[in-house]
C-alpha cells in the first residue's frame, strides 16, 4: 500500500511539473514581449520595467525564468495582477467563496436529482419513467450551461418574475435565493450525466444473480434498493465524478458570466480579456491542482467502496 501511494505521488508530481511548464509558457504565447504584456495599460515607468525584468528574469534563459517563477509560486507568490496591482493570491482568494457556494449548491441539486431518478430509470427499464427521464437527460446533456441559463432567465426571471437574474444577494437566504437559477443551470448537464451513469449501473446490478436471489428470498424492495443497488452502483458513479467535475468547471465559468456573479469564473474571463496573465496563470494552476486532487480522491474512494479494486491497485 505504501509503495502504491508513493508511486501515485511520484506520478502526481510529474504531471504537476508538466502542467506548470505549460502554464508558465502562456506568457510566451501572448503577443508582444513579456514585459509589455505584464505592464498592460499602466504607465511604463523605468522603475516598473526594471522591477518586472528583475522579477521575471527576462534576460536569463527560459529554463531559469521558469525555475524562478515556479519557486516563487511554491511560496504562494504568483506575482501581481496587471489590472489592479494586487497580489494574485489575494485576488483569487477574494473571489473563491462565491464560486464554492455556487458549486456546492449545484452539487446538492445534482445528487438529489440525478441519482434517485437514475436508479428509478434503471430499475424500471423501458417503462415511462425511464423513457421520459432518459430523453430529458439527452437534451440536458447536449445543452450548454449558458444556453440553459438564458432559457431559465427568460422563464423564471422575465415571464414569471419569481427569481432574480443577476447578482449574488446578501445574507444566507438572499444568497440561496440569488444563486438558485445559476445553480440549476449548472446542475442540469451534470445531473444528466449522473442520471445516465446511475441508470446504466443500476441496470447492470439488477441483472446480477445476487439480486434475483435476494428477491426470491423475499427481501423487500426497499432493502434491495439500498443495500444492494445503491452500494454497488456507487462505484461507477464515483468514478464518473472526474468527468462531472470537468463539465462543472467549464459550465461554472460561463454561468457566472451570465448571472454577473463575481466569482472565480468571471475573474478568469476578465483576466483573459484584459491579458492579465499572472491572474490567468494563478487560476490555471488552481484548476489543475483541483482536477488532479479530485481525480486522486476518486481513485482512493473507489478503493474504499469496492474491495475488489484493492487487489488490482496493489499490483
Amino acid at each position: 500500500m505504501v509503495v502504491f501511494l508513493a508511486k501515485r505521488l511520484a506520478s502526481l508530481i510529474a504531471v504537476l511539473f508538466i502542467v506548470s511548464i505549460l502554464i508558465f509558457s502562456l506568457l510566451a504565447l501572448s503577443p508582444g514581449s513579456i514585459v509589455s504584456t505584464l505592464i498592460g495599460t499602466r504607465p511604463a515607468t523605468p522603475e516598473l520595467i526594471a522591477a518586472l525584468e528583475e522579477r521575471y528574469r527576462v534576460n536569463d534563459p527560459y529554463p531559469v525564468q521558469y525555475w524562478h517563477w515556479l519557486t516563487n509560486a511554491f511560496q504562494g507568490d504568483l506575482g501581481h495582477s496587471v489590472r489592479t496591482g494586487e497580489p494574485v493570491v489575494s485576488v483569487i482568494a477574494s473571489r473563491l467563496p462565491l464560486t464554492l457556494q455556487l458549486g456546492a449548491y449545484a452539487l446538492i441539486l445534482v445528487v438529489a436529482v440525478g441519482i434517485p431518478l437514475g436508479m428509478l430509470a434503471g430499475m424500471r427499464r423501458g417503462r415511462p419513467v425511464d423513457r421520459i427521464t432518459s430523453t430529458v437527460a439527452i437534451v440536458a446533456m447536449s445543452a450548454p450551461a449558458f444556453a440553459v441559463a438564458i432559457l431559465l432567465i427568460w422563464v423564471f426571471g422575465v415571464w414569471l418574475e419569481w427569481l432574480p437574474v443577476y447578482g449574488a444577494g446578501d445574507g444566507f437566504f438572499g444568497r440561496v435565493y440569488h444563486l438558485t437559477l445559476p445553480a440549476v443551470s449548472l446542475a442540469v448537464a451534470m445531473a444528466a450525466v449522473l442520471h445516465r451513469q446511475t441508470r446504466a449501473a443500476t441496470m447492470h446490478v439488477m441483472d446480477q444473480d445476487y439480486v434475483t436471489f435476494a428477491r426470491s428470498r423475499g427481501v423487500s424492495r426497499m432493502r434491495i434498493l439500498i443495500r444492494y443497488a445503491l452500494r454497488n452502483t456507487s462505484l461507477p458513479i464515483v468514478t464518473s465524478a472526474g468527468v462531472i467535475l470537468i463539465v462543472a468547471l467549464s459550465g461554472a465559468v460561463l454561468v457566472e458570466r451570465v448571472f454577473a456573479l463575481q466569482g472565480v469564473g468571471t475573474l478568469m474571463i476578465e483576466s483573459v480579456d484584459y491579458n492579465d496573465l499572472p491572474v490567468v496563470q494563478g487560476l490555471a494552476m488552481l484548476l489543475a491542482l483541483l482536477i488532479i486532487i479530485i481525480n486522486q480522491l476518486v481513485d482512493l474512494l473507489a478503493l474504499v467502496i469496492d474491495p475488489r479494486t484493492r487487489m488490482r491497485g496493489r499490483s
Binding site: L26, L29, S30, A143, F146, L151, W154, V158, V193, I269
Partner: protein, 291 residues
C-alpha cells in the same frame, strides 16, 4: 485479389448497421429535419433570409416581434430571424472542420495504436489520458483568448482538445476487430498492413467512426458557441448564435427572442445530432456513448 476472406466481413458492415436503425421513427425524422434545415441555412445563408442580416435600422433599435419582423430586431435594428439564418454558417462550418480533423487525426492514432500495439499504443493512450483530464472549454478560452486568435485558431485548439474521445473509441473498436478471424485471414494471405487496415478493418468500424464524428461535432459546436458567447474567435458584430445570446441578454426584457431563439436553436441542433450519433453507436453494437 483477396481470396479466402469471407465476403460478408468486408465492406458491407456499414449498410448492415444502417439497416438496423429503426426507420420511420418520428424522432429520427424530426432530428434529420432539424439538422437538414440548419445545414440549408448554413449553405444558403442570407439568400433565404427574409431581410438582409446586415441591414441596420438604428432608429428602430431593439424591438419585440411584429411589424414584419417575426422575431423582432436587435440593438442595431437588424432582423433577428435573418441573423439566426445567417448565423448558422459560423455555427456549423467550424465544428464540421473540427469533427473531420479530429476524426482523421484521432481516428488514425487510435487505429494505428490498436493495430500495432507496443510503444505507439502506449504513447497514444497517454496522449488521450492527458487530454481527457483537461476542462476543454476553459483551456480553449485561455489559449485562444491569450493569443488573441480567430475563428480557425479556435478550430485548431478544439480539434486537439477533442482528440481524446475519438482516440479512445476508435482504439477500442479496432481492438475488438483485431481478435476476429478475418483480420488474421487477411494477414496470413499476405496483405500489407495498409491494405489490411484500409480495405478490411476500416469498413467494419465506419459506423462507429461516423457516430463519433457526430458527437465530436456537438462538442465542437458547443465549444464554439461558448467562446463566441464570450466574444472570442469571432469578429464583433458578425451574425453568430453564441454572440447573439450574449448581446441579447442585455435586452431580454424588451425582446427576449434575441437571445432565447439562438439558445433554443443551439440546444435543439446539439440534441438532434447527439440523438443520431447515439443511435448510430447503439446500432454499431456498442452501448450508448457515455460522455
Amino acid at each position: 485479389m483477396t481470396p479466402e476472406v469471407p465476403r460478408s466481413a468486408i465492406g458491407r458492415g456499414f449498410r448492415r448497421y444502417i439497416a438496423k436503425i429503426p426507420r420511420g421513427a418520428l424522432v429520427n425524422t424530426l432530428c434529420i429535419a432539424v439538422i437538414g434545415a440548419v445545414v440549408i441555412c448554413a449553405i444558403l445563408g442570407e439568400v433565404i433570409a427574409p431581410y438582409d442580416p446586415r441591414a441596420q435600422d438604428p432608429l428602430r433599435g431593439v424591438s419585440p416581434p411584429g411589424d414584419g419582423h417575426l422575431l423582432g430586431t436587435d440593438v442595431l435594428g437588424r432582423d433577428v430571424l435573418s441573423l439566426l439564418i445567417a448565423g448558422a454558417r459560423s455555427a456549423v462550418v467550424g465544428p464540421v472542420v473540427v469533427a473531420l480533423g479530429c476524426g482523421l487525426i484521432g481516428g488514425l492514432l487510435g487505429l494505428l495504436g490498436a493495430y500495432y500495439g507496443g510503444t505507439l499504443d502506449a504513447a497514444v493512450n497517454r496522449l488521450a489520458d492527458l487530454i481527457y483530464a483537461l476542462p476543454s472549454i476553459i483551456v480553449a478560452i485561455v489559449v485562444v483568448g491569450v493569443m488573441d486568435g480567430g475563428y480557425w485558431s479556435v478550430a485548431a485548439v478544439l480539434t486537439f482538445l477533442s482528440l481524446a474521445y475519438q482516440i479512445r473509441i476508435i482504439r477500442s473498436v479496432t481492438m475488438a476487430q483485431m481478435s476476429l478471424p478475418y483480420v488474421e485471414a487477411a494477414k496470413t494471405s499476405g496483405l500489407s498492413d495498409t491494405r489490411t487496415i484500409l480495405a478490411h478493418i476500416l469498413p467494419n468500424i465506419v459506423p462507429t467512426v461516423l457516430a463519433t464524428l457526430l458527437l465530436d461535432f456537438v462538442t465542437a459546436m458547443i465549444g464554439y458557441a461558448a467562446l463566441a458567447f464570450l466574444g472570442i474567435g469571432i469578429p464583433p458584430g458578425a451574425p453568430n448564435w453564441g454572440a447573439m445570446i450574449a448581446t441579447g441578454q442585455t435586452y431580454i426584457f424588451i425582446n427576449p427572442w434575441l437571445s432565447v431563439a439562438p439558445a433554443i436553436l443551439l440546444i435543439l441542433t446539439a440534441t438532434c445530432v447527439t440523438l443520431l450519433g447515439d443511435q448510430l453507436h447503439e446500432a454499431a453494437g456498442r452501448k450508448a456513448a457515455i460522455r
